[in-house]
Structure formats: C-alpha cells, structure tokens
C-alpha cells in the first residue's frame, strides 16, 4: 500500500484504533479498511469487541487512540449527530424504535431534513417526505402498518423498522449489529432479501453470528478475537483458517 494513496481508495479507514475501559483494552490497535460498495461482516466470539468497534465508528464510545477516517474525514473528533450527517448510519442490536410513535412518524423523524431545533419546528410533511416514507415502508414490509404505533409491532417488524429508519437517512456506510438475531426463519429470509436490496450503492458493515446468513451476504469477513483481528478475507479463506476454527467456528 502506498502512503498517501489510501484515503482515496477506502470509504472507511480504521487505523491503530484502541479503546480502554479502566485499563481493559476492549479494542487493541485495530486496523481495517472498507471499500466503496463493499459488504463486510465482522464475526467473532462474545466479548471480542465487535459491538465496541461499531460504537467507536458511530461516536457512541470515544477512542483512546487511533484514527477512523470516513471519506477522508476524521470521525473520532466529531459528535454523534455530525457523524450521522456525514453519512454513517447505525442500527443497534436490540431494536430501538420509538414505540409511542407510529411507523410513519418513526420513519419521518429519520428523514434527513430539519434536524435543527428551528428546522424541526418549521418542518413540513410535504409530498416528498410522504413518498419517501411510503417507498421505504414498502421495502421493509410495513406499508400497511404506517399508522400503527411501533409498540404493536413484532420483534422482527421492529428490526425492519429500524433498518428502514436507517435507509431513509440514505447513509453511505450502513452499520448493522446482528440484524437477524431473534428472528423467525421466515423473517430471516425476508431480512436477507431486504438487506440484499438495500446494500446497493453503499457500503455495509455487519455484525452477525448466523454463519449461513454471513455466507449469503459477505464480500469479506473480519474475525475479531479479544479486540484484535484474528483473520480477514473471503468467507472461504476465513472458514479454513486454523486459528479461526480453534477460537470460534470449531465450537
């Protein structure tokens, strides 16, 4: 790799990333690069630091040292909402939707307009917003539930709704934390179909345990173990890596 050449090629460049919680290093000197339109899956045993890596990228956790460059912009110094506005979207592990609001309102809040106090006071629900909300609602299989309050949705539907909320933001980098966890078999198949549709024209960073699902979607897999990269490459390469088999896949 040529110095000075990297930031242009990669959408996301994580280098030397370290975070320590009271001396415990959850992520140690981690470096990895995500290209435009790449689907990267992060796997690894519990406590490997997968969720922490996503927390660091989206600004929920502050890095102790290292850098995260997104399209050449340093994310480690930005606030969460600024990171979102740069084009990074994050889905949490447990579905976090606004249960006291309807599906429509949930999606509308994520529509990238009127994000300041004044902007949200003067925000108009115009045709553009309505069309976009309906378009996304159709993609996430919730078109006939627009007026339903989110607390009446099933677990799987809430996961879809949160994915939809990210989709409406139209991020360049989409980060998903276990998107199919806790879903039924049919919901899982629908989610895979949904993800395959929405990953076009953007990069996706996914944490997932379901190996079948990983195989279906991953371009490249990163295996994390104790905060460090154990192996990286295609699914095939990773699956045959003896180190990976020992700590993770062998179980």
């Amino acid at each position: 790799m040529l110095i000075g050449h990297q930031p242009k090629d990669f959408l996301l460049a994580v280098s030397g990333l370290t975070v320590s919680f009271d001396g415990f290093k959850a992520v140690k000197d981690l470096s990895f690069y995500v290209e435009e339109n790449e689907i990267r899956v992060i796997i690894g045993p519990n406590g490997a630091g997968k969720t922490t890596v996503l927390d660091l990228i989206c600004g929920k956790t502050r890095a102790t040292s290292g850098s995260i460059q997104f399209r050449g912009k340093e994310l480690t110094k930005m606030r969460e909402n600024e990171i979102v506005q740069t084009g990074v979207g994050r889905k949490f592990q447990t579905p976090s939707v606004f249960e006291d609001l309807t599906v429509f309102e949930n999606l509308e809040i994520s529509f990238p307009r009127g994000r300041t106090v004044f902007g949200s006071l003067t925000f108009q629900r115009d045709q553009l917003v309505k069309d976009r909300v309906e378009e996304v609602a159709e993609m996430i299989f919730l078109k006939d539930k627009l007026n339903t309050y989110a607390d009446e949705l099933s677990h799987g539907q809430k996961q879809w709704l949160e994915i939809g909320m990210l989709l409406i933001q139209d991020p360049d980098l989409l980060m998903l934390d276990e998107p199919v966890a806790g879903m039924s078999v049919s919901e899982r198949a629908k989610t895979a179909e949904l993800l395959n549709r929405i990953i076009k024209n953007r990069s996706v960073l996914v944490i997932e345990h379901d190996m079948k699902f990983v195989e279906d979607i991953a371009h490249k897999v990163t295996v994390l173990h104790q905060g460090q990269i154990l192996s990286e490459g295609t699914m095939e390469k990773v699956q045959n890596d003896p180190k990976v088999i020992e700590v993770y896949l062998g179980h």
Partner: protein, 381 residues
C-alpha cells in the same frame, strides 16, 4: 391519509371548549370577586404545569426547579410595580424618598443599577420572558451538553431553587428578603387592587393562558413535538438519526421556563405581591405534583390539575391546615402508583370511551359516515 391537518383532534377540541367555557363564562358568572381572584392565583400555576407538560411529559426532563422561573418572572413584574408604587410622593416619610420601602429599611440610599431599567414597562415585559429564558438556557446548556439528565438533572434544578431562595432572602436590601415585595399598587397608573381591576386581570390572564396553550399545542404538533417523545424513549436513536439531543432538551426546558415566568408575572399582578416562598424547593415540587395529578401527557389535564389541586389546597387548608401537606403527599403517591397518567389518563380510560360510544351511536343513526376514532384521521364532514 395520515395528515394531521387539524390543530385539535376531537377530544382535544372538547377539552378546549370545556376549559374555555369554564374559565371565560361559568366561573366569572358564578364566583364572587374574591373567589375569582383565587382562581386567577391557581391559574398562574397552570402556566407552570403547561411548561412541565412539554418539558417533563413530552421531553422526559423532570425539573424540580420550576419555582425558580416562576419566581424570576414574578420578581421582574413585581420590581416594575414596586418602583411605580414607590414614587417620591408615596414614600416621602422615608429617609430616602423614591426608592422601595424595604431598601430604605435596609439603609440603601439610592436605587441599585439593576433596578433602574425596571422603570420601563417594555423592558419589564421583555425581562419577564428573557431573564428566565436565558437563565434556563445557561443551566440547560451546562447540563445537557454534558449529558447530565434524569435524576441528576432534577436534583440540580432543585439545588438551583434552594440557592435562589437563599440569595433572595439574604439580599434583603435588593429583593425585599423573606417578606418579598409587598404593597404593589398600580400598573402604569391603573390601580390593580379594586374589584373591577381584579376581574380585568383575571380575563387578561385567561387569554394569555390560551395563547400559551396554542403555542404548546403548536409545538406538540410539529416534528419537534414528536422528537421530544422519541427522545424520552430512545435518546440514542434520536442522536443516531442525526439530531443534537442536547439542543432539543434545552429548547424544551427554556419553553417550560418561559411559561412558568409568565405565570409568575401574572401572580404578581393578580395576587399583588411576590415572595421567596414561591421560589424554593417546596413550591417547585408542588408544581410538579399539579402536573402529575392532572396528567403530564395532557395539556388540558395539567391545567385542570393545577386548578383542582390548588382548589383542594385552599378548601382543605382552610379547615385542616396541618392535614393538607399529608394530603398532598398521599395524592402524589397515589398518582404515581395507581394512575400515572393522572386525571387525564382516567378521563381517557373511563370517560372518553363512553362519550365516543355516544357519538358513534348518534352517528350511525343519522348516517354520518366516517370513522369516529379521531386520532389523525381526516375530519368527517
């Protein structure tokens, strides 16, 4: 299909009409001036409750220091009135005529600099809004930008209430101390004490209250209102949807402060004095109780809460002065445990369905089509 084109849905409209009828027509026709003036006093707390609905009910920010803003608004108004009441003519027996009496008693010989602008009514009206607004902005910025929230925020607001009380009591010569500012007489030469003035002030206050209701309802219906609800539930999700959560909290807190201040200013006008006993911890908590009893999620509920609890306070403390505080405490516990949405929650659960059924049956008789569940549905015409 999903357009909230109407300002009030049907049950809110009924709440609006009921409140307007009671405050504009029924009470003025049935109560004597003394009782009507008491209602005016209760209504000053309705402003505070209205602010708490936005800030606490919607935004989930519990402030136990609304008395601070009520007090700041009240003191701004009282300072103007006190200056007018302290004309050289009225105070010629003082050693320094032309300054408020309490200053003279405390050996102050000239009007302090920060009192000077309160000779102007325009400045006073601006100050009633801006002083509490800016103070809330400072507290809010300091707390919410650092992500101080929940109980910690509540405790800090309570501490601010305690500090302000101590400050007011301690600075007797500038504030009137524990007695507050009494003997307020005229507003631009218009005597605020006689019965006809009390009646006019009552109506001015009710009109102002309805203006504030309109503002609160407007905020509730904008996307900002929905963001407040969203923030209360999933703060992180709002943050990761690209919003600066702190700014929205600051806004809600400032709005609540301004509403409380308007209430405080009306208190000084209607009751004719202002004292630190409306600033401290106890009144601040009482204000939260009014809101909780009425229903913190409901604009009209909270206003009824302020009126009814205060009415109960007056009637009970007239006959059982010691029992009242226990009663208030019990009421608060009952609300938290048994009906967390307060009176408006009870109304929505038990009374509203009956009314809806009544409407529904009447509708089907007259073949007036359209669904009766008004929540956001298009108006049936």
């Amino acid at each position: 299909m999903i357009i909230n084109s109407r300002f009030f849905n049907r049950s809110e409209l009924m709440g609006f009409i009921a409140l307007a009828a009671v405050l504009f027509v029924i009470l003025p026709l049935t109560l004597d001036v003394f009782r009507l003036n008491l209602v005016a006093k209760y209504l000053t707390y309705a402003f505070v409750a209205l602010g708490l609905v936005l800030c606490w009910g919607y935004g989930g920010i519990l402030s136990l220091g609304q008395g601070v803003f009520f007090g700041l608004g009240g003191y701004c108004m009282a300072m103007f009135l006190k200056l007018e009441a302290s004309s050289v003519e009225n105070t010629k027996i003082q050693s320094t005529p032309g300054i408020p009496d309490f200053m003279d008693w405390n050996q102050i010989t000239s009007l302090p600099l920060f009192w000077q602008p309160f000779h102007s009514l325009t400045f006073t009206i601006l100050a009633i809004i801006l002083v509490p607004g800016i103070f809330a902005l400072i507290i809010g910025t300091a707390m919410f930008k650092r992500r101080v929230g929940g109980t910690y925020f509540a405790i800090i607001t309570q501490a601010v209430a305690a500090i302000l009380t101590i400050l007011i009591v301690g600075q007797q010569g500038y504030t009137g101390g524990i007695n507050g500012m009494t003997d307020l007489r005229t507003l631009k030469g218009w005597d605020i004490r006689p019965d006809h003035a009390k009646i006019i002030l009552y109506f001015v206050e009710v009109v102002l209250l309805f203006v504030c209701i309109g503002i609160a309802q407007f905020i509730r219906l904008t996307k900002l209102g929905r963001i407040l609800v969203a923030m209360r539930e999933q703060e992180d999700r709002v943050r990761f949807s690209g919003y600066s959560v702190a700014n929205f909290k600051i806004f809600a807190f400032c709005m609540a402060a301004v509403f409380a201040a308007i209430g405080g200013a009306m208190f000084a006008l209607n009751v004719g004095f202002m004292s630190p006993s409306f600033v401290g911890i106890v009144p601040s908590i009482e204000m939260v109780i009014y809101t909780a009893v009425g229903g913190r999620m409901s604009i009209f509920g909270a206003i009824w809460g302020a009126i009814l609890v205060n009415f109960a306070k007056t009637s009970l403390s007239e006959s059982f002065p010691q029992l009242w505080l226990f009663g208030l405490g019990a009421l608060f516990i009952a609300v938290v445990l048994a009906f967390p949405n307060g009176l408006s929650g009870l109304w929505a659960d038990y009374v509203q369905p009956r009314i809806d059924r009544l409407f529904a049956s009447r509708k089907s008789k007259s073949d007036w089509s359209g669904n009766s569940v008004a929540d956001g549905a298009a108006p049936a015409e």
